[in-house]
């Protein structure tokens, strides 16, 4: 925790409960904010688009980490919950004509409810058994979404109109730019609220269930309520990510929410660091950035080593897997851990112990 930083003395509990204590921490915050504020002017729309998808993924990953990393309930149902968020918001906005912000809010609530429902097996199942049972929720949700003609009018997908907020339609030319502010705003909100949860009794009870459910029940934590609540809260964030996907990509199709996506999100939080909000964000960035960066690299190679050109796509796919493997060999506990170590290293340098 932050209080290990040398030379910080607290005179009240309130001061100790703050998230940032040292000037270095405050400086970092200022830098991050400044970075976020200037970024859209520094990159082209393509990269800004990637940043936007990272932002959405980060919201979803934060949600998943609440469930997996903080409550210890491994879930492979992420894709299904994203789908619930996306379809709910899209349907409410397109069919019922609800204003998009309201539709998204309803999507969050809907996904939370569905999440809690599919969390029911967690009351009986533990660990990897639960993980695989959540695949069932994934498959069932996707099944419903695909086969229920009413949802998509039998087309299997829904078109969503370009975002209009209070009568103002996001212009085509500054599409990514406008979305950047929406997505970053919501992502920051997601990160801040999630961090807040884990400063309070509610969040602690989640972590207690993760670390030791029997002991948790012995101190008065209602396991049923807490597990279902964790599913609901987590799914709420995931629903937001799903709703954003719907309106940002202007189309909803189940093909976007398959088990592969669930695995990809799991990859994000593991690579980022389980049980870390910041880690979820790092992980989302890592997993979403890796393929386009590899593609850039491949482009560079294509012209230089034409012989390889034919194999490049496969090489890219292999490199994606390889980077993940190597990364975890280097630091099995994730990016968040690397970041902390780097901070410690700087802080304690030149004294090692």
């Amino acid at each position: 925790m932050a209080a290990t930083a040398a030379g910080v003395f607290h005179t009240s509990y309130a001061s100790e409960l703050r998230l940032r204590h040292t000037s270095a921490e405050r400086l970092r915050l200022v830098l991050v904010v400044a970075g976020l504020l200037t970024l859209p002017w520094l990159v082209n729309p393509y990269w800004l688009g990637i940043v936007n998808t990272i932002g959405i993924a980060a919201i979803g990953a934060v949600g998943l980490n609440i469930l997996v990393g903080f409550t210890g309930q491994i879930s492979l149902g992420q894709g299904g919950f994203l789908a619930v968020g996306a379809f709910t918001s899209a349907l409410l906005a397109q069919r019922a004509g609800l204003p998009v912000p309201l539709a998204m809010l309803a999507a969050v609530a809907m996904t939370a409810a569905v999440g809690a429902f599919f969390g029911l097996p967690a009351l009986r199942l533990k660990g990897l058994y639960l993980a695989i049972a959540t695949i069932a929720s994934q498959e069932i949700i996707i099944f419903v979404v695909r086969r229920w003609g009413w949802l998509t009018g039998g087309q299997g997908f829904l078109d969503v109109e370009r975002l209009t907020i209070f009568g103002w339609r996001v212009p085509r030319t500054s599409f990514e730019f406008v979305w950047y502010w929406i997505i970053v705003g919501l992502a920051v909100l997601a990160v801040v609220t999630a961090r807040n949860i884990f400063r309070t009794a509610l969040g602690r009870s989640f972590m207690a269930v993760r670390d030791h459910d029997i002991a948790a029940s012995a101190i008065g934590v209602d396991l049923t309520r807490t597990k279902l609540f964790a599913f609901a809260v987590s799914s709420g964030y995931v629903g937001l990510a799903g709703a954003l996907t719907a309106h940002y990509t202007q189309t909803v199709t189940w093909e976007r929410f398959t088990i592969d996506i669930s695995i990809q999100y799991l990859a994000m939080i593991i690579v980022g660091g389980l049980g870390s909000i910041a880690g979820a964000v790092y992980g989302a960035a890592f997993i979403m950035l890796l393929p386009p960066l590899l593609a850039e690299l491949a482009d560079a190679l294509r012209t230089r080593v034409p012989l390889l050109a034919d194999q490049l796509p496969a090489v890219q796919a292999a490199a994606f897997g390889l980077v993940i493997v190597l990364f975890l060999l280097f630091e099995p506990r994730g990016l968040d851990r690397i970041w902390r170590r780097a901070k410690d290293y700087v802080r304690f340098w030149p004294f090692r112990y």
């Binding site: 491994i74 097996p121 009986r124 199942l125 533990k126 660990g127 990897l128 058994y129 993980a131 695989i132 049972a133 695949i135 069932a136 498959e139 069932i140 099944f143 695909r146 086969r147 029997i214 002991a215 088990i259 695995i263 799991l266 990859a267 593991i270 690579v271 389980l274 194999q311 796509p313 496969a314 090489v315 890219q316 796919a317 292999a318 994606f320 897997g321 390889l322 980077v323 993940i324 493997v325 975890l328 060999l329 099995p332 506990r333």
Partner: protein, 289 residues
């Protein structure tokens, strides 16, 4: 009636292959408490290894199978050496993630060497059909079931009674404690992966023969999840029952409504899990305070 028999035979044949693929999962889980997301890709690689030996190198069938097995063992051991050894003692979830990465690598490597077009392979299993209770039943499916049963029985015996089988279960229980018994956790991991690769190879050969040899074989990995969970993540005999149940259920569902067969196994799975949280034969976690 004949329709029922027909579906049953095909269901069992699918179940047999599923059980073989599931076996690899179970072996790895038993020894390392890790879910191997690369199991489907092991199967894919196994099938292509056999293809290389049998078709490209034109080795006689028996030799080709042996070469395939040897190559699978090498692959399993190599995976352990290069990617799993440094992770001994780490949180299993990190290892699970590594297998996800590994899956991407293995699949891409197959694409690099063999391209994306399905390959033709001469039939290895007998091609004829027999008639059982009015149903036309292809011989290859029956042989596939037999092969699977033999292999699975062998592994069951190994785990129950051999020293290495017990050591493997010990490692799964408590790695540190196993280490101080002089059990080389690495060796056990290597063994588990080698076995998993071999069972995947066998499943791959069968699959390539009864269906086709293409990169899509990799997708079999995910299909196997309900099977392992149903039988119990750590139960070798459980894979047989799990495979049979899931194979049959999805086949029957397919015979009634084509779309439903994708979701029915999962529904069955959840229902069974609610009654038996550790699957049909899985070992409950001992939780005493």
């Amino acid at each position: 009636m004949s329709q029922f028999v027909q579906l049953t035979v095909y269901g069992l044949a699918n179940g047999a292959v599923l059980a073989l693929a599931a076996l690899g999962f179970v072996l790895i889980y038993k020894a390392t408490s890790v879910i191997n997301f690369a199991q489907g890709e092991l199967l894919l690689v196994g099938a292509y290894l056999f293809y290389t030996a049998f078709v490209l190198l034109r080795l006689p069938l028996a030799v080709a199978v042996l070469v395939g097995v040897a190559a699978a063992v090498v692959l399993g051991v190599a995976i352990e050496r290069v990617v799993l050894r440094p992770l001994v003692g780490e949180d299993p979830i990190a290892v699970i993630m590594v297998t996800i990465g590994l899956a991407a690598v293995l699949k891409a490597v197959v694409t690099m060497f063999f391209g994306t077009t399905p390959r033709e392979m001469p039939k290895v299993l007998p091609a004829g059909t027999v008639t059982i209770a009015g149903a036309t039943v292809p011989l290859d499916r029956l042989v596939a079931v037999a092969v699977a049963v033999v292999v699975l029985a062998a592994f069951t015996v190994f785990f129950r009674w051999s020293r290495h089988g017990i050591a493997m279960r010990a490692v799964a229980d408590d790695q540190q404690a196993a280490l101080v018994q002089g059990i080389s956790v690495r060796r056990i991991f290597a063994l588990a992966w080698a076995f998993a690769a071999v069972s995947a190879l066998i499943a791959g050969i069968l699959l390539a023969d009864i269906a086709e040899l293409s990169q899509n074989l990799g997708s079999f990995g995910l299909v196997v999840f309900p099977v392992v969970i149903l039988g119990g993540l750590d139960s070798v005999p459980g894979t047989i029952i799990g495979g049979a149940v899931i194979g049959l259920v999805s086949q029957y569902a397919e015979g009634v409504s084509a779309g439903a067969s994708q979701v029915v196994p999962y529904v069955v799975l959840v229902l069974i899990l609610l009654l038996r949280p550790y699957g049909l034969f899985g070992q409950p976690r001992i939780e005493r305070v």
